[in-house]
Symmetry: D2
Amino acid sequence: MRNIFGNALTLTIFGESHGECVGGVIDGLPAGLEIDMDYIMWEMTKRKSTVDISTTRNEDDVPLFLSGIKDGFTEGTSVAFIIPNKNARPSDYNELQGIARPGHADYAAQAKYEGYQDASGGGHFSGRLTSVMVTAGAILKKALQNKGILVSSHIKNLNGIEDADFDWNKVIEEMLDLNDKEFAVLDEEKGNLMIERIKSAREEQDSVGGILETVVYGVPAGTGEPLFTSIESEIAQAMFSIGAIKGIQFGKGFDFATMKGSEANDPFYVEDEMIFTRTNNNGGINGGISNGMPIVFQTVVKPTPSIGKVQHTVNFETMENVEIKINGRHDPAIIHRARTVVDCMTAFVMADLLVQRYGNRWLI
Amino acid sequence: MRNIFGNALTLTIFGESHGECVGGVIDGLPAGLEIDMDYIMWEMTKRKSTVDISTTRNEDDVPLFLSGIKDGFTEGTSVAFIIPNKNARPSDYNELQGIARPGHADYAAQAKYEGYQDASGGGHFSGRLTSVMVTAGAILKKALQNKGILVSSHIKNLNGIEDADFDWNKVIEEMLDLNDKEFAVLDEEKGNLMIERIKSAREEQDSVGGILETVVYGVPAGTGEPLFTSIESEIAQAMFSIGAIKGIQFGKGFDFATMKGSEANDPFYVEDEMIFTRTNNNGGINGGISNGMPIVFQTVVKPTPSIGKVQHTVNFETMENVEIKINGRHDPAIIHRARTVVDCMTAFVMADLLVQRYGNRWLI
Amino acid sequence: MRNIFGNALTLTIFGESHGECVGGVIDGLPAGLEIDMDYIMWEMTKRKSTVDISTTRNEDDVPLFLSGIKDGFTEGTSVAFIIPNKNARPSDYNELQGIARPGHADYAAQAKYEGYQDASGGGHFSGRLTSVMVTAGAILKKALQNKGILVSSHIKNLNGIEDADFDWNKVIEEMLDLNDKEFAVLDEEKGNLMIERIKSAREEQDSVGGILETVVYGVPAGTGEPLFTSIESEIAQAMFSIGAIKGIQFGKGFDFATMKGSEANDPFYVEDEMIFTRTNNNGGINGGISNGMPIVFQTVVKPTPSIGKVQHTVNFETMENVEIKINGRHDPAIIHRARTVVDCMTAFVMADLLVQRYGNRWLI
Amino acid sequence: MRNIFGNALTLTIFGESHGECVGGVIDGLPAGLEIDMDYIMWEMTKRKSTVDISTTRNEDDVPLFLSGIKDGFTEGTSVAFIIPNKNARPSDYNELQGIARPGHADYAAQAKYEGYQDASGGGHFSGRLTSVMVTAGAILKKALQNKGILVSSHIKNLNGIEDADFDWNKVIEEMLDLNDKEFAVLDEEKGNLMIERIKSAREEQDSVGGILETVVYGVPAGTGEPLFTSIESEIAQAMFSIGAIKGIQFGKGFDFATMKGSEANDPFYVEDEMIFTRTNNNGGINGGISNGMPIVFQTVVKPTPSIGKVQHTVNFETMENVEIKINGRHDPAIIHRARTVVDCMTAFVMADLLVQRYGNRWLI
């Protein structure tokens, strides 16, 4: 369905990077769900990441709700919102007319839309559209939190620098802490090293990537649907709608390749009349359905393709080989911002699966 | 949509491991598409993998087409088929009543369906349902091949043993060769080592996993849709409907974490009035849309959870801690069989995206 | 979505009139819903209508459930079933090769599928496929009945002969009575006149049509969704999937054309702390949403197009004008059979809307 | 899918009558489709119907396109637009707090949304949302016209006054003429009588309804899909999303009830190597698929429920019986405005079916 995602809850996305606005429509929310604008704005703030290491472009990304909300509560009908592009500067990109920026969708879009696409700043393929995902997902992230279900990510790895692991004995506390941080690491020292690495990349006119680790805590066992609507299928579909993400693994993921079955299987046990697993190699999911343990997955965020270094590429209008040097405001890393998008879209997916299971009144 | 996958082409799946049959319904095929039963049966044979290393259960998995096909050509209406479960032996599983097999969906299904699920052999969560994916996908795999688009996977890594890499100068030849092989490796010697490793695992009553690498060759630049219907989103959703798959990465995937933007970006160049990239780190996809280079991705297949070793687990009916030893026919590895499922579902996804772009008559 | 209907509950349909079978897949049912085969078979019997006036073809239409049901209860996964075509006689139709039967889909199907369609007996366009709708819908009709929601139709008008109107003071009783009848009229005398008229039509080698009136009783106010998922939109989409139906009207329907607003509006009133309307001109629906009054609509069933009289038409293969005389078993009326299809599909629609509102566990 | 309509082309709708705006998102349009704002504005003008007989509320309904269009051509990505509510006057409705206006969705919405709905002026259930349908549909109506496919309606019957019938020998001319008229009748004299009748209704503080007849001319035989995506199913689903429409009939519709099969069937004949039917009782559709003849259907538009007369009703907040007198700007008839909504939504449906058949590039 192209720009429409979800089943019982749907999100329709529109907009281009340097157009008038980006925006979305959420359908399927129950009537009477409270909209916490402060909560949404904090997620939006994390996505903009105003710390020094990030872009200086400040768009004051305040979503304007156009429908479906009255006096701070949902009305039960479709909720539309836009995020105006206040600071659009298409002139930054004019010199790029016809140029395929390496690592970007420019050429793929040209092949698809044959010149009619809005090319400025990536147009519909810009990371700008993730602000729509954050707005929509933040509403559900808050709703889930009210039901005792937490979603939180940290930067597991930035260009080789590894963060600490979750301490599962105090994971709730750690997850709440992470939600409060703009730069999401468990170990602040490692975080400082990561920030240094990002600054070095900027000085080199280059960029860096990394790995996010996401936990969903508190999902009741038995959530998710078989086959194509498995938790893994739905989360993966959502994650790959985020431009920079090129891989996802649940639980031990690619490490399963060198494990034996006897090591990989998570032994179940009963304690206090509840069922747990000793290990959580499968990331809380068996057969696509939650088994009650924390859902854990990792996503890889590639280095930002916009770099200041000279690059070889083509002009697809003149069909000539050319060199480019991308000027303007560019992030030497986006992983600390992508993390918020991952959190919010994960919340949207989990809410959709829970609504499919329990009906949308459950969200209230 | 639970058991329904796809957009312009849809696949509806039903059935349980030890029920009467498994089956599917394909909707959206054009009228006049030739059905090559030999082609389908070869894919089904590879899925069963009758080599020594595999299960001895032989189900003669012949799909019976119930509708939508006349004289070997599609009629344009919905194509339904079943694959009877000839050799079902539920008695093998009776002793497992109430037992959560570690690594399986038994407990998650219990939590979801509260005792009403068909538990025998995994029921609806059994790998048996992948025969439906193979039947449906094989039809599209053949149709794409007729249009010059090839899909093929090899076992990139089995429990640490690495296969050779594709030789991109003769990749078409290698892909066609792989399609002819039951055990899909580029380097036969490495293949023999892998087979030995699988046999050892069997002797240890254990199991092994690995990594598949899949190539889609010949997809025109500009294929795929933005955001939620990106090639990556659609392939990932399909791959995670296959029970054993726990991770997917496109192009360099998780290696992007330690690369710089200047290394990660694929420089474009023009040659003979066509556009290529020097490297293919992005796996042929930019912004979710094909750029004309081969589409490349890897999936990790976890070790088969059914193992002969004694395991700790629970009986969720009595809520007691128990030990189990799973008898019966079990694969010490399924990666060589999963590869066919991956090939066929990938073909289904790519055909769906191409039909969305060009209409379904394009498949003829 | 072509052959797939529904939102939270979906029905996928396949099959052709003279193929091996027709069948369907229901997805979205909760686990633990009891399947009452007697109830289903009584609906199937009414669809076959074994009374003299109907076709002599007896197919013993027993749905065979292939998946999703164990020990008489749903498992929570997709429920597939087939209805074998035991008595298929394609030879009856051989002489019709290339002939467009007037009033049938033969020529439209030829234009669409260009010769690949299964033409025998209408193929995928045959009324035979309504047995799939009855099987699927009967499951939900019974489930709704268990929740106090009744669906029932009568033959309001057969070729000009009018049945009595519902007596709203004893509508529950009348609806239950209708469900027990093979020929659904409120006034038996009028029913006998209708049967005579049908017999006359048969003697004339002709056929007759009529109007069905359907009531859904007990739907809680507030059921249905805005706009495209209104009760009216969903019921109408379902009704027009039944080949012979060419019109639908809710409440006063086409009579609204000559009414004033002051006559058409249904005045609300409060009694015993509940809200009712004095009249029910709007058929229980305002803005697409139920207002708690009985839902009432009428559908027109055109005369069976298969008649014994000589008819002028074309052979679309030779592109010649020809005459045909259709032999074989044909119904001089199908309205008394179509009534069951209308009942069952209406139940499916209402169940889908209620599941969207309350979640699928509500059905249990 | 609640507020989302369509298959290959989708329309997502949002907004409330007295909120900031109403709007929509169209997905699935090809890149390079020209947007003719004059054409859209003429359809919007007809929907507002500035003639004396209509409301004096003038909203200058100019759709603002937010995305997906550049230099007057579609970009291939999702097209979002809003129509601001410039002249919203919620104070008109304050006195109606808690009052269920007869014939309106107020009480049904209350039952559904439990007080969270936007009640002013009908909120999400207001006829105001049809301006979104007109904007979206007008784009496709123009695109179809460029391909030789015309959509046009006339007021067949207004409160008993009958317009002339189409003259099928000059139907193209008549359809183009109708498109140019604000008050769509074939016979101007009858039109004047209708206008008089509307004015009388206004003087009586009452309202009138009527019947629209719609023709789609030029649809190639073989368009439409079986069963649930039949032309009839899709058009009916769309039509019943328009609040005032309570019935639809294709071809002879409810008149089939008193016809014999020999009268109802449309005889085919060959002329100049093309196939036609002598009559068009089936309205150009057999088995849900077009047979190449003009598609003809009628919809009934109930009298506007907002009338000045005193009406009996309830206050659902206090649960008391009350009387109301609705002040403010109200249309004594909306059929002449609804006609444009019917035209535009019909165009959207037909374009969707044609795109499913031929791919979306066919629209260019």
